[in-house]
Symmetry: D2
Subunit: 339 residues, 4 copies
Amino acid sequence: MKVLVVGSTGYVGMMLLRILSSHPEIDAIVPVSRSAAGKRLREIDPALGPAIEPLLAGTDGRLVSLEGASPESADVIFSALPHGAAAALVGPFVGTTPVIDLSADFRITSLERYEAVYATKHPYPELLDRAVYGLTEWHREEIATAAIVACPGCYPTATLLPLLPFTDIVRTPAIVNALSGISGAGRKEKQDLLFNERSENANAYNPGRAHRHVPEIEQELASLEILFTPHLVPLKQGMIVTTVAELSRDISQDEAEQRIRDAYEGSSFVGLSPRGIPQSRDVRNTNRCDIGVRVHGTHIELFSAIDNLYKGAAGQGVQNMNVRLGLPEHLGLRAHGEF
Amino acid sequence: MKVLVVGSTGYVGMMLLRILSSHPEIDAIVPVSRSAAGKRLREIDPALGPAIEPLLAGTDGRLVSLEGASPESADVIFSALPHGAAAALVGPFVGTTPVIDLSADFRITSLERYEAVYATKHPYPELLDRAVYGLTEWHREEIATAAIVACPGCYPTATLLPLLPFTDIVRTPAIVNALSGISGAGRKEKQDLLFNERSENANAYNPGRAHRHVPEIEQELASLEILFTPHLVPLKQGMIVTTVAELSRDISQDEAEQRIRDAYEGSSFVGLSPRGIPQSRDVRNTNRCDIGVRVHGTHIELFSAIDNLYKGAAGQGVQNMNVRLGLPEHLGLRAHGEF
Amino acid sequence: MKVLVVGSTGYVGMMLLRILSSHPEIDAIVPVSRSAAGKRLREIDPALGPAIEPLLAGTDGRLVSLEGASPESADVIFSALPHGAAAALVGPFVGTTPVIDLSADFRITSLERYEAVYATKHPYPELLDRAVYGLTEWHREEIATAAIVACPGCYPTATLLPLLPFTDIVRTPAIVNALSGISGAGRKEKQDLLFNERSENANAYNPGRAHRHVPEIEQELASLEILFTPHLVPLKQGMIVTTVAELSRDISQDEAEQRIRDAYEGSSFVGLSPRGIPQSRDVRNTNRCDIGVRVHGTHIELFSAIDNLYKGAAGQGVQNMNVRLGLPEHLGLRAHGEF
Amino acid sequence: MKVLVVGSTGYVGMMLLRILSSHPEIDAIVPVSRSAAGKRLREIDPALGPAIEPLLAGTDGRLVSLEGASPESADVIFSALPHGAAAALVGPFVGTTPVIDLSADFRITSLERYEAVYATKHPYPELLDRAVYGLTEWHREEIATAAIVACPGCYPTATLLPLLPFTDIVRTPAIVNALSGISGAGRKEKQDLLFNERSENANAYNPGRAHRHVPEIEQELASLEILFTPHLVPLKQGMIVTTVAELSRDISQDEAEQRIRDAYEGSSFVGLSPRGIPQSRDVRNTNRCDIGVRVHGTHIELFSAIDNLYKGAAGQGVQNMNVRLGLPEHLGLRAHGEF
């Protein structure tokens, strides 16, 4: 199988290359980059070992432009571009080749809402209804035949997985506090992402309803609203979400845990943490989402941990590729975290 | 002036020594330690520069036992011991010498609640009503004449300072999420405090009503209850608290900000952040608490940042000493954070 | 294939479990622990995902004591114990089952030197000549039939791989400066390994000829001596070694690079860095050693980067297992670092 | 006293503002910035507390352009600009107002060497001999009357202080390995200074004789040459230097230590570490340089620790200001590190 990765030099693209190059069903990878076409991939990303070279035989080890990539011959196209750019580039291939999109361009089903939130014109509005929201554990069947899989953002993934099993019994709004590693902000040359500005530093930002991921989360939650406060903490990779909501009816601790077990029965990657409350290192460099739940009388509290670049982006993308191509869902995805 | 510091080898004691040795009114410091009596302080704590030596002339540069410390000659006694031990040691001096206690032993006014929360007998229950809760900005007058100043914990300090100006207009419970640097857990030789266990790691713990600081916080809040979720993040020093509460009546953004300004008018250390939402580095190694506030329609959200060892412990202790001894409140305390 | 891992709860053992559980030829893992026998492995090490459970079927997911481990039925025994303890435990199986020892017990061929350096009696001195030094790239043939593979320490691995190709043309002593991540010090509950003591901190220690790894390194270098200065830096995993030595004859930059290429031709894991000078992240969580070399007129300078727990311990152990059992040397070992 | 700080928004300028605003002899600070003139300083640098406002009364709390700064009325001018820009800006004031320059522009006495190393024309070559090299402990007398104090770089400071007392008895070249925190690279928006690129990462760079600080160091060492290898490690602030050199005559450990004591007798900031080998945290946020020395038979090894932004830049600048203005050398400078 041959895969195209459009946007190979950002953190999500780099993680994709790592996962795909260890995937047992992938024979060829075509790394596409606008800015670095023509350069040797291992010079751009020296942490890739020589073992990736055979997979890059088709491009002689180099990044290529989209034009040079023969996208029509690919079995699947991954897009790891910024919003706007992603839709513009993959649009022409939709319907011909399965597209796994890691941008925001096909996540929001309402055109008006998308254009309001992202302050841009959508280049292919007619494709919005060809896309399926790629929160794998909740949309497997539709993903299996989708033209476009619109993979969720990291915040929505970590927020929705613990919360979806409880939407029928919590009152609006749920109070969501999220802690993200710095790679979630991308590989941008911005002063406030420098080591010296983030080391020994933590802060909240864009609170309430200001973060772009709020509409995406609420779209999946139906009538439940959230107050969402993201925080940056000095992790490279990792995300923790803590959600508190008032219950509309009593539930026992056992029943709450059982809801998680039931929702994710048979899942390779999502389930209750052996710790009770998960830690971000437990799932670093894995496709897992570890969950915890505590009932405090009138309120319920939910905990989740993911790796924002893995289950929150590239890993879930590959999981969706597996589902879309009829492969075992867990194939090629890491299961053991760090310590 | 001569000060005794009982418990000089933990993080709070070490921070106290740094602050006191730069304080313009302190002539002599007597560092007391049970475990390290007789050793040279600068060998135990090599980051102290030679400039501290003249202040230690009375003990020849050494740590001493309490017996060898001539506590009766001190102008003030600081206790930076674990709970239980603190009360037992300083009890005999109460009423004779002003005591600034940084433990939990005199924070909770109810004996039964103290003994339940800390699972220990209080050695001097008769002294509980001699203590004043040392949240300086809210109890200056009582602190000025107190026999014991019971300095707040770091979580209560960072939670109460932004929340107290709003207790009349928020509904119970307030949802409090706190992020703490690792030094908040003390200098214990525990596996889960090792660099390798905390680097690239973040997690919630003791959520809901399980943390020992909840009764202390609620005692100051009168009838308002909280759901409190502390998190550990890989900072050495620093604390961020984010609180969301439902409003019982409408309030504008301007009015909310004005409440903070009014509450802390004339304060050297507490006020609105120039950023809107504060960052932990802004107040690292300072006695400041920077505050932010956002009104989201039906709910209010409060943000605060402190250094858990400084304003959250040793710095507030010295601030209370200044108040107790009639010195300018800001004397010897740092005002500028890191960048 | 069934493998025993003796010492499963330290960092090296934990890394071994991760590698072995993704190894395509391993069917069963028996995790042995003295201190935690009887406990469920995933409760002790929650970052292990549920995917490890089938491999642990023989122990019902639990750690077992050595007595309960049926070591005679294993295809290979890994020892990740402290020195002294390792030899005592694996001694009885030597000659029956291949032993991959990650301790120092069989690295030093001279009994007197071992006992002097480690200040202990060797429990099985008669086995010293049954052991082969497991620096894979230099001793493949002997490893393939060894009763015991004595895997090198992390400092020796990172020092020897770049230096061995030049021993004929450098003068004694070579000046070796090594930077290690904190996990190199093990999972000990020691104050100076706490997050708060190592974050924002770096220092040299045990310089000159004082570190225990010096005799091990010099044993492989024959007549070349070293002055070795290790440093601790705030990395979780990672090691950088910089070596400067005077040349005994001229060599060009090209010739120097060619020596590295020749020495590691066909090697899956060791070679010149695409960067020129490697970075520790390039090889994090991989079995690689990336090398750089610079000729400065009269002197040569060598650079290397490894992951101290992977190529410097568990990964090289599995590489040696592969060689010992006639499997492809790279099997189950990661090749791509972080970014 | 009134001081001008030209270049107030880089890390060195920000550190200068912190030190100067706590200095007992400073009444007024004029913060100068080309890029941010007109903006409120506390909005640009929110970690500065309200306590700085009275010192900024002359500019109404704002950054100003050089033209608006009335530099002729200042008692001293600090320049914290990049090389080239620094000389161009402060040139006109030399001889009128004492200039403390923290750039490289006046460090190298040879015009040709300066222009070769920095690949730029010097805008005021005629001023080169008006400058004194500001390694305070070695040039106090000349600094006291200098028109320009050319403050050393951080690498030269940490290399020279331990090495200068031994230049008469070591053979060339000395092998110098330096570890620097990331702030040493400045506040540049460069991809390789992002948190995600530096966290969990360490590497050597520009080794041998390639780093721009080599000529500056060798100028002070007279006939001794160095091979200098800088490394980046994930510290925000901090620097460790380890130097190994062959001895030209025997020296005992005691004699070596005594040389350090003699060289720095009476110094407030430089001396032997109580630890033997210093750690970077010992001197974080201080003006100290802690030193260690070990004699290994034929070779000597030297260790030093500084804060690269404090003693390595802004702190030494203020120390030089104190000397130049006849104030006590230690005034306003911190002496106690972190723990």
